[in-house]
Amino acid sequence: MKKILLIFRKDFLVEWRSKQIFPTMFVFSLLLLLIFNVAFEFRSDINFRTVSAVVWITFIFSGLLALGRSFSLEKENNAFAFLLLTPVSRSYIYLGKLLSNVVMVLLSELFILPLFLLFFLFDAKGIPLSLTGAILPFLGVVVLGTIGFVSLGTFFSSMALNTKLRDMMLPLLVFPLIIPVVITSVGICSSILEGRPFGYYAFSLQVLVSFDIIFILLCSILFEYLIEDSGD
């Protein structure tokens, strides 16, 4: 656990001082929101399903953009080779990177969410904006969904970077695999906005949590095979 936290701290400090990923992600998300808003011409006839879809598409696109960076930073000055030299199991390296990526992506999502509320839901009527009824469950789903797509995104960003196609490869690898995250997260978020009871989306929530657990486990096992010889 301590080793995971050390890697997390390293990555987080690098980002904190260089400030490369965070502003990029933030501005990119804003632009996506703008494009969606212009394209859909949202007025007062808000459809919660569409709004939830817009949120998640924004999160996933901007999140993957940031993840693409997370391993290419390690490439510079061959930093990753030195990281591998440390007496730490590769699974821990993956888990540490996963943790730092989740935190960074979540932070930028937290900054985007209020703006999103401002842009899309400002004149929507009848949203249950109570703290326990809507906001906390909504944030909970954001956390779970983010863990879901970042777990595979972190894993495959290290793979994509080593292929000939590089950044092109990451969305190809990740998008089809995270379909369950998209289906469940968008479904649950729109159910929450519509003010449905918990039982209505409990099944989707189970699927989402299982997805997170399955793929964190699987990726941390397979990570050992992914970077077998540090050279390539």
Binding site: T163, L165, L172, P176, L177, I183, G187, L222, Y225, D232
Partner: protein, 219 residues
């Protein structure tokens, strides 16, 4: 052995075609179009076998790191793609008169579509990965994750209600014995066809690799 397999497959496929067209009774509600169901099931079954072979061969490759497992996985994935494409085409032909649409996003179709995309990505990854060892390792890892992902896709897509028929298991209706015979022969025929194609594809692949190793063209 190869010749026996070839003639056996050929005979079974001819028999399956004959049974599909003449032996099986006409379905009461759907009529003659239902006959495509047998080949639909045959291809989807063989595709499932193919992708399971990819999954198992990929695990073996990661553990043993011998090239033959990688070759097996790759050849099986290629044939699986072919079979799955046929599944989707036959399914569409069937769906149009029965459901009134070529395509709908019900859980089975969604999962099939994602299955197709996943193995398309698998083939793209192979062509764009780089060196041979890296290509084999990366595609094996992707194949394993993709195979585990599929049930989750299916379960998550089931949040919406499906309309694909459930033939076996709970809720499945009774089936005429003659239809059952036809189905079994078709399934067996397509299984053998898959084995035959896999063997031939591997032979060609090994020849290519041998040529490549000798410095000729190919690889």
């Amino acid at each position: 052995m190869r010749k026996i397999l070839f003639f056996l497959t050929f005979a079974l496929m001819v028999l399956a075609t004959w049974m599909t067209l003449f032996y099986a009774p006409t379905e009461v509600v759907m009529g003659h179009v239902q006959r495509i169901f047998y080949f639909h099931m045959g291809t989807v079954w063989a595709a499932t076998v193919a992708f399971t072979v990819v999954f198992v061969a990929s695990i073996y490759y990661l553990v043993k790191e011998t090239a033959k497992w990688d070759t097996l996985a790759y050849c099986s994935a290629e044939i699986g793609m072919l079979l799955l494409t046929l599944t989707i085409i036959t399914g569409s032909i069937w769906a149009k008169p029965v459901w009134g649409t070529w395509w709908t996003w019900d859980p089975q179709l969604t999962t099939t579509f994602i299955l197709w995309v996943l193995y398309a990505v698998y083939l793209v990854l192979r062509s764009g990965a780089g060196g041979r060892g890296k290509k084999a390792r990366y595609s094996a890892i992707f194949a394993i994750i993709a195979y585990v992902d599929l049930p989750v896709v299916y379960v998550s897509a089931r949040v919406k209600r499906g309309i694909s028929p459930v033939v076996f298991g709970p809720g499945g209706g009774g089936i005429d014995p003659a239809m059952m015979h036809t189905l079994l022969v078709t399934l067996l025929g397509f299984t053998l066809l898959f084995v035959l194609l896999l063997g031939e594809r591997r032979r060609i692949m090994n020849m290519e690799n041998a040529l490549y190793a000798r410095g000729g063209r190919g690889g």
